[in-house]
């Protein structure tokens, strides 16, 4: 048993960390976040590094690695708060790779893996997908219908896409309404579309771990630096215990996310429960840690000029993507043994 990265995984992590730190210096991040735009050059470089296809099979132009490697990237992307379509594109890839037929995979995965033909996943509830990342720029949209647990692939021109103003300006979101009869159902893959949501939820959980880690580090640095009543505020237990709580939750979210990613690659029978545990815990963690970090920062944390609010807003938005903490807890209750006689109305 080894609950740590292999040398190769460690190399992926440090490469990603250094690359993103170099490309997304604070001024650059602020410029993108304030303009609400992505950096096309950054996406191009990420594509050249093979990131979009990290989990896609080599036969489809990917690197043939797993969900563990994907979450390593996701955590670093969250830490850097990278404004990029990486998550949405990966979501489409995971869905098609898992639930698509051979033919569907041959058709869609190479473009997703190379980053040249981007996809996203629209999580449809009651006939509409209320919060879809990057639907405005995707070439292909996987419509996941949570009522019927089925998914279909449609060109983005075949659905109604309405861009949204959200609190999170580091990612683009839209509302997507499927138009009647559009799309080709994903079929004949390894499993149902419903199951394929799980690794996507794990990827978002990993992003939340990265966001939490960064917000915690900002709080710690500030608590060491900021002096009040003649000493650093981190010397007061009211502040230091708050920081310790951030570590407890961030490390917990990291443990369960890494475990869930491992089940996706090696123990698929445990994935559904593990993924819901990870997404529920990481969603709460992401919000609590960023909000707590703002409190440690005091007044400066509430100003636009401090970067913390971009992290806080991403954490909140992530909490709502691909199932909220409440929805995932409901699923945990069901899978852990509190079986309902009738399906939940969540």
């Amino acid at each position: 048993m080894n609950f740590d990265f292999t040398d190769d995984q460690q190399a992926i992590k440090s490469t990603a960390h250094d690359f993103l730190a170099a490309r997304l210096k604070p001024e650059k991040l602020r410029e993108l976040a304030e303009a609400g735009s992505y950096d096309d050059a950054l996406w191009k470089e990420m594509s050249e590094l093979g990131w979009p296809g990290i989990f896609v099979g080599e036969e489809h132009g990917g690197q043939g690695l797993g969900v563990v490697e994907l979450v390593i990237l996701m955590e670093e992307l969250g830490y850097a708060l990278a404004p990029s379509p990486f998550l949405s594109n990966a979501a489409a890839g995971l869905m098609i790779q898992h639930a698509g037929s051979d033919e569907q995979r041959d058709r869609w995965l190479p473009g997703i893996a190379s980053g040249e033909q981007r996809g996203t996943v629209a999580y449809v509830e009651n006939g509409v997908a209320a919060l879809v990342p990057d639907a405005d720029s995707a070439d292909v949209i996987v419509l996941f219908d949570s009522d019927s647990d089925t998914a279909s692939v449609v060109p983005s021109s075949d659905v109604q896409v309405e861009t949204l103003d959200t609190i999170d300006s580091t990612r683009h979101y839209s509302r997507v309404t499927p138009e009647g009869g559009a799309g080709e159902e994903l079929s004949g893959g390894r499993g149902s579309a419903d199951e394929a949501i799980a690794p996507i939820a794990v990827a978002v959980a990993a992003e939340l771990v990265g966001v939490s880690q960064k917000a915690m580090e900002m709080a710690i640095e500030y608590a060491k630096d900021r002096q009040q009543f003649g000493r650093p505020i981190g010397a007061y237990q009211a502040v230091s215990h708050r920081c310790a709580q951030m570590l407890l939750e961030t490390e917990g979210a990291r443990s369960v996310t890494l475990y869930a990613a491992w089940t996706a690659d090696h123990e698929p029978e445990s994935l559904q429960l593990a993924a819901s545990m990870a997404k529920a815990y990481a969603s709460d963690c992401g919000w609590r840690v960023t909000a707590s970090s703002l409190q440690v920062h005091g007044g400066i944390g509430f100003t636009w000029e401090h970067d913390l609010h971009f992290f806080l807003k991403r954490a909140k938005a992530d909490g709502h993507l691909f199932g909220s903490a409440r929805e995932h807890r409901e699923r945990v209750a069901e899978l852990a043994g509190l079986t309902r006689s009738q399906p939940a109305a969540v």
């Binding site: 995984q9 710690i220 010397a235 310790a244 407890l248 443990s255 475990y259 090696h266 545990m277 807890r329």
Partner: protein
């Protein structure tokens, strides 16, 4: 990342499972004395199969098991609902300290009877005035004619009435800084100068004791690790204690949660949204505790020592266990306060979880100062 067990680890687990199935002694008898003798004979059985000294080196009668094997063992005995061994403090603290810091003569004298539960050990660290601030302890040892004379008071001493030996930390140098003037002794409990008084706790039972020590005698050869090194020796003990707790407690949580889910069904609350949310949250926190403990194990295997991260596991476990027993009491409805077989004891006992083995406040200090690197509080 590889969370599968190696073939050797699987073999260890399978052998242990079938051994437990064949040797499980059944239900613990009621009555303190009978229960203790039951645990003593259980430990003898464990020792015959080399499971008592699982983590101890083979040369001292142990099995030299790896950390993973120890984790597997802790998980399996909880899962099998096997009893605790009688000499649990000797096995997880006393023995390891003698092995790490003791002389050859001490190893020869003390180790074997720990394994066989022939000689029970207890721990004399805390005092009425020294809880979290352990290093401020006042029990005094003075050298007199080649032996030490000890006077003072200890508290929270589990198994004191059964114990032959006490791991005692006392002040041997009044003038040294408080961490430096302490010495670790092995004190014979069978002398009139040591009086044991049971300490009744909120559950009604007396799991712990107070020790009143009035000029007790300890021969010089029972000093462990050298005069003045008591703090360092005691800290090793506490680290071992905390490191071992993670797994078995996380597994225990999961088993208790299963029982709570039965109770929820029985009370017709299985489809109640609020209850489901709370159960799921506890389930997740129990799993998170277990997984963080596993990650700590990987780190410990690399660095050789249990890290301060162990504090996170103990802290989260105590929070979760308290919340779980509170929910169980709530689910029982108007019967909540009515004393039953399962829940009222656990509900009350759980209040100690955030105090014993390091209060949650102290654990937060450790995390803030030693993991995160914030300035010291003083």
């Amino acid at each position: 990342v590889d969370l599968t067990l190696s073939p050797q680890e699987e073999a260890f687990r399978d052998e242990l499972r079938s051994w437990l199935a064949d040797n499980h002694p059944g239900h613990e008898p009621s009555g303190d004395e009978a229960a203790f003798e039951f645990r003593r004979s259980w430990q003898r059985k464990l020792d015959e199969a080399s499971y008592a000294g699982l983590s101890w080196p083979e040369e001292y009668g142990g099995r030299g098991a790896t950390l993973i094997e120890q984790a597997i063992f802790n998980e399996e005995v909880v899962r099998a609902r096997a009893p605790m061994p009688a000499n649990v403090l000797g096995l997880i603290m006393g023995g390891p300290v003698v092995i790490a810091h003791g002389s050859e003569e001490q190893k020869e004298r003390f180790l074997k009877p720990i394994l066989t539960a022939e000689e029970i050990w207890c721990q004399g660290f805390s005092e009425p005035e020294s809880g979290s601030d352990l290093a401020s302890l006042k029990t005094k040892a003075v050298k007199d004619n080649g032996e030490w004379v000890v006077t003072g008071q200890k508290v929270w001493t589990t198994f004191a009435h059964e114990a032959k030996w006490c791991m005692l930390v006392a002040r041997t140098d009044q003038d040294a800084p408080k961490h430096k003037g302490l010495t670790y002794f092995i004190m014979d409990m069978e002398q009139d100068a040591v009086q044991v008084r049971p300490l009744r706790q909120i559950t009604g039972e007396a799991e712990f004791n107070e020790l009143f020590i009035e000029e007790a005698r300890i021969p010089d050869e029972n000093v462990v690790g050298g005069v003045g090194n008591g703090w360092m020796v005691a800290i090793t003990t506490l680290m071992h204690e905390r490191a071992g707790i993670g797994f078995s407690s996380a597994v225990g949580l999961k088993i208790a949660l299963g029982e709570l889910m039965d109770l929820v069904r029985e009370k017709g609350l299985a489809e109640d949204d609020v209850t489901r949310q709370r159960i799921a949250q506890l389930y997740i926190e129990a799993e998170v505790t277990r997984l963080t403990a596993s990650r700590g194990l990987t780190q410990q295997m690399k660095t050789g020592i249990p890290g301060p991260e162990g504090s996170l596991v103990k802290w989260q476990w105590s929070d979760t266990n308290q919340a779980m027993t509170e929910l169980a009491t709530e689910v029982r409805g108007p019967e909540g306060p009515v004393i039953d077989e399962d829940w009222t004891y656990r509900f009350l006992r759980a209040r100690a979880n955030s105090i014993e083995g390091g209060t949650t406040e102290i654990l937060r200090n450790i995390v803030a100062e030693r993991v995160i690197g914030l300035p010291r509080m003083r």
